[in-house]
């Protein structure tokens, strides 16, 4: 059985590549895989500190520290998944030049593995969110069963963009260097650390189409309110991610025959 030119062997390869990438990342460090958990925890800690004490956020209906922190992390977790996934995906091909040049496999798996790496901090954020909600006595139950679907959406979206950027990065190495800055810009331009309502009503409909915002909402709606995300968001994201993934794959496969000249 094949899907988009991938078969079962590629699935096994994807699994192996993911294990390797995860292991390699922290290889040689004392704490090893603990960093996979510790690093997002520290980042979340910093953002919680900044937005609850340094610049206390005013959010209607979420007075008190705990509700605010839950709100913050439920948006920051998906954001970490997006940014880490995009960063790893973009440098995946150049970073694995040795494998690309010496092992016969489908190199389009590499940016997908990069996208999967982003899911690790997302899981960490879930793991601290759920106890906090139970503590708050505000656990919403069944709607969180929709989260795996949101994770899938996020994976397809990040893989699609990652396929574009990773192939581009082979030829224009500046891509991976400028990406963190652009992502930082997107982070503060997207209504993730503040509600959409801070923007003038006139431009809100346009800003709502920001996929970063929508992906964050796809996680927030089930976690915070126990609701499924609005249908239009799901339809919009499915179409957008699907198109991006397909386009990214076409782009990547066209360019990968030229990788050998640049790796």
């Amino acid at each position: 059985m094949t899907f988009a030119g991938f078969d079962r062997r590629d699935l096994a390869m994807l699994k192996n590549l993911f294990k390797m990438a995860l292991g390699d990342r922290f290889l040689g460090s004392r704490l090893g895989l603990i960093w996979a958990v510790l690093s997002p925890l520290m980042l979340m800690g910093i953002f919680v500190f900044v937005f609850s004490f340094v610049f206390p956020g005013r959010l209607q209906g979420r007075e008190g520290t705990l509700p605010f922190v839950i709100w913050l992390i439920s948006g920051y977790g998906p954001w970490l998944a997006l940014s880490e996934g995009l960063n790893s995906a973009t440098s995946s091909v150049v970073g694995s030049a040795g494998v690309v040049k010496n092992v016969a496999f489908k190199s389009e798996l590499l940016p997908i593995v990069g996208a999967m790496l982003g899911v690790v901090p997302l899981l960490v954020s879930f793991a601290i969110l759920i106890p906090m909600q139970v503590l708050e006595g505000n656990f919403h139950g069944w709607a969180i069963l929709s989260l795996p679907f949101s994770v899938m959406l996020l994976l397809v979206f990040v893989s699609g963009v990652g396929l574009f950027l990773s192939a581009l990065n082979v030829f224009v190495r500046d891509t991976a260097l400028v990406l963190p800055n652009i992502l930082m810009l997107f982070l503060f331009a997207s209504p993730i650390f503040y509600p959409l309502s801070v923007y003038p009503a006139a431009i809100r409909p346009i800003l709502q189409l920001n996929p970063f915002y929508i992906l964050a909402e796809c996680f927030r709606a089930p976690i915070l309110n126990g609701q499924l995300p609005p249908l239009w968001m799901i339809v919009y994201m499915v179409i957008l991610s699907g198109l991006l993934f397909w386009g990214g794959l076409v782009w990547f496969r066209r360019l990968k025959t030229f990788f050998d000249t640049r790796l």
Binding site: A12, M13, G98, V100, K101, F171, F258, T261
Partner: protein, 387 residues
């Protein structure tokens, strides 16, 4: 009956697009047609029969490694068809794939995982790699602490730990110490004996004659010679027509020397040649018996110690070489026979006047028949007494 083929390569061409700052944008957003290209391989065709290694000789940049990667499926070819039947193991470069912080064990584990071996198979193979590579307790040290030779040992052991149908080897046997090299040869011969096939890419012609029956010489991306390994080696070394240069007008062989084409070890060997000296000079003769055999390699078996004088005055001479009780093993040999005279300018040097040598394409082949491994006994006498 057509021979079973392990690897087929038909009309394979591969070019690399030359990319600089400006053309990379054109490559990304336009067609590649107007971009400058470098033709690395042009219309390469060859077959590797099952149970054989085929050698590919060529200088640096001839396209050897590119060809190997195309066969292995790492590079895509622009044109042509490559078919490989069976499981494949490729050793394209000695750079270690993956993170240098990995230990040797983890590295091996990783490469085997990529090749899709199960955990149980991996355990056995890793024990084998540990043993074969002789890395001992360094096996659990990070790869970045390894010397080049240790890396090569790990790499070779890992790539050949499994029983594959086809091996693609690039230059790897030139690394490592002699002890390890001989182990590598043994392992490869063992794999070939069990029906494996492969391609050996190298510029070490002696390595080709050791393992391969036939070989190809690659130059600037095209095959310029294909044929038996030792002839390919000669072609690689001296080109198509080039030969040793003989100083003419002093002496020459009148016709091909007379000697038995086949001989049994222990028989007396007799070679007769006719020589004509045309101008006054100290003409002498030297002879070398070289063993040159596919699957064995190349080595000098016998060599005349000094120059045997033939004559100084013009005239015809008869030269006889007798090797009593020929002390060599059964196998295929080449006789090189040369007429020489001292160099008037450099005392220790000799000038070749005429001769026969496989390197010039006119070697005198000698087949020593008999059961291999029967052994030879040199003329020795033992005396054992109870003390």
């Amino acid at each position: 009956m057509p021979q079973a083929v392990a690897v087929t390569c038909q009309g394979v061409s591969k070019s690399f697009v030359l990319i600089d700052g400006g053309s990379s944008w054109r490559l990304l957003f336009a067609s590649r047609k107007d971009l400058p290209v470098f033709d690395a391989l042009q219309n390469i065709s060859f077959d590797v029969p099952k149970g054989q290694f085929v050698g590919i000789l060529g200088r640096n940049g001839a396209g050897k490694s590119t060809l190997l990667r195309v066969v292995g499926g790492v590079y895509s070819s622009d044109q042509g068809v490559v078919k490989v039947s069976g499981a494949l193991s490729g050793l394209y470069e000695l750079g270690l794939v993956g993170h240098p912080e990995l230990t040797g064990r983890q590295y091996a584990e990783r490469l085997l995982t990529v090749h899709g071996f199960s955990a149980a198979e991996r355990e056995i193979m890793i024990a084998d790699i540990h043993d074969f590579s002789e890395l001992d307790d360094r096996f659990d040290d990070p790869v970045l602490t390894y010397s080049a030779g240790m890396g090569a040992r790990l790499f070779f052991s890992t790539a050949t730990a499994g029983h594959y149908d086809v091996y693609l080897l690039d230059e790897i046997l030139s690394v490592g110490d002699t002890h390890f090299q001989s182990k590598c040869w043994r392992r490869l011969r063992d794999r070939v004996a069990n029906g494996a096939s492969g391609i050996l890419v190298t510029h070490d012609w002696a390595a080709i004659t050791k393992l391969c029956e036939s070989a190809y010489v690659l130059e600037k991306g095209t095959v310029i010679y294909s044929g038996p390994a030792e002839k390919a080696a000669r072609h690689y070394l001296y080109g198509e027509n080039a030969m040793e240069e003989y100083h003419e007008g002093v002496a020459h062989f009148i016709d091909t020397p007379d000697f038995p084409a086949q001989i049994v070890p222990g028989d007396d060997f007799l070679l007769k040649g006719k020589v004509e000296i045309t101008s006054c000079s100290d003409v002498g003769v030297v002879m070398v018996l070289e063993r040159l055999q596919p699957g064995f390699g190349w080595e000098t078996a016998l060599m005349s110690r000094g120059v045997t004088p033939v004559g100084t005055q013009p005239g015809r001479y008869e030269v006889e070489v007798v090797i009593p009780k020929l002390p060599v093993e059964p196998g295929q040999y080449q006789i090189s026979l040369h007429l020489v005279m001292p160099d008037p300018e450099i005392a220790s040097r000799r000038i070749a006047l005429d001769g026969y040598s496989w390197l010039n394409g006119n070697g005198l082949p000698l087949e020593v028949t008999g059961e291999p491994g029967q052994g030879l006994s040199l003329v020795t006498s033992w005396n054992v007494e109870r003390a």
